[in-house]
Subunit: 229 residues, 2 copies
């Protein structure tokens, strides 16, 4: 339960492994946690169901869902059915699963909600080690967004400083899993797959599945993911 | 009509006087114009109808509407029915019509669409002269967003430079109106009022109405706005 002296934070929660661990970390740091998720036209409902399980597990103050159909923009395998999710292995280039400006959009809405709540702390589970090369997962992006937040808002203009927390940014997937387990995370609640079934069964071969699998191997932990095959 | 050599631009169009003039300017500069509007839970449908009239008037290539219910966040007289729109005159402080992070959210989605279109030009009708003191209408904000855009996107990482055009930022409301009229704008198509009726009748006393009225007086132009009283 929260108490009045607790600092509030907004945590972006997708239902995947990284954001679930980020929520666990925010909680362990004593924040009153306000979880924010998006229904953005993902390929699978399982992501949203996973987000609900994760926030229930950690007993957040509030879990808000915002409907924002990024399919209206398209341009990604995750938001356009005409573009296939790659399953051949993680490549060096920015892959077609990149959703244009996604983290900018998500952080903007987190910023808006934070300002309404009177919070200046926002947590996002970006990772620049075992990741898919998305530009909006890198420290440069987070730094630029922080600068923006402080000039974009009434709170910023009035002298408050926003802090975008990225506790996973320099961790390997294995280290992320180890840290989450120490904090009571149950990874069977999470779904990382880009094309999971609505029941939450993972494909095992998309980039996100491969990075997740590799993480459990790195951490030498039994992988609780339910695969389709 | 567009042709293949035209540069594409995304223009944020709300249906108000400023964004309509901004579209007129983008068009006059030879851009292939892609208009972007939001249904964000505004108090009145008239804003959306006005946006449709304005983009039809200027024959844009595409006019996209994104549903994004900012009422989920609230915190503003424009997105929370429990907060009244002030009608006592434009004050010095940032007013309760400020929508937390609104222009950050809108520009983020414009950025995403621009990237999908292969465009690097985005137009927004912010104004820092005859305005309501919103932090996300100032040059500092635009500069910070531009820096963000260039690190947040695949296009930016690949060396393209985004340009956020703010042709109105240093103009008075009167100058904006004069410029629009020269470019064929018909301001009777636009609705600026924060609490217009669904038929587009303006209240005449909210800050937005007051600034608009003052603009027509400055420009010595007959005000075509339809008022409720």
């Amino acid at each position: 339960m929260s108490n009045v002296s607790q600092k509030k934070a907004v945590i972006l929660v997708s239902g995947g492994l990284d954001s679930a661990t980020t929520l666990a970390i925010a909680k362990s740091q004593g924040y009153a946690c306000y979880a924010l998720s998006f229904d953005y036209g993902q390929r699978s409902l399982s992501e949203i169901n996973a987000a609900k399980r994760v926030t229930a597990h950690f007993d957040v103050i509030e879990h808000k869902f915002i409907n924002l159909d990024l399919r209206a923009i398209g341009g990604s395998a995750l938001t356009d059915d005409g573009i296939n999710v790659p399953t051949e292995g993680v490549a060096q280039d920015i892959p077609v699963t990149y959703v244009p400006a996604r983290n900018t959009v998500f952080l903007s809405l987190a910023l808006g909600w934070a300002e309404v709540l009177g919070a200046t702390d926002i947590f996002i589970g970006v990772n620049a080690v075992d990741y898919s090369g998305y530009p909006d997962c890198r420290p440069d992006f987070i730094q630029a967004f922080t600068q923006l937040a402080n000039v974009a808002t009434k709170a910023g203009v009035e002298g408050q400083q926003f802090h975008i927390h990225t506790p996973l940014i320099n961790l390997t997937k294995g280290q992320i899993i180890e840290q989450g387990l120490k904090l009571g995370m149950d990874y069977s609640l999470t779904v990382s797959c880009y094309q999971a079934t609505d029941e939450g069964l993972a494909c095992g071969i998309c980039d996100s599945c491969r990075l997740r699998k590799q993480g459990f191997e790195q951490a030498d932990i039994v992988d609780p993911t339910r695969y389709q095959m």
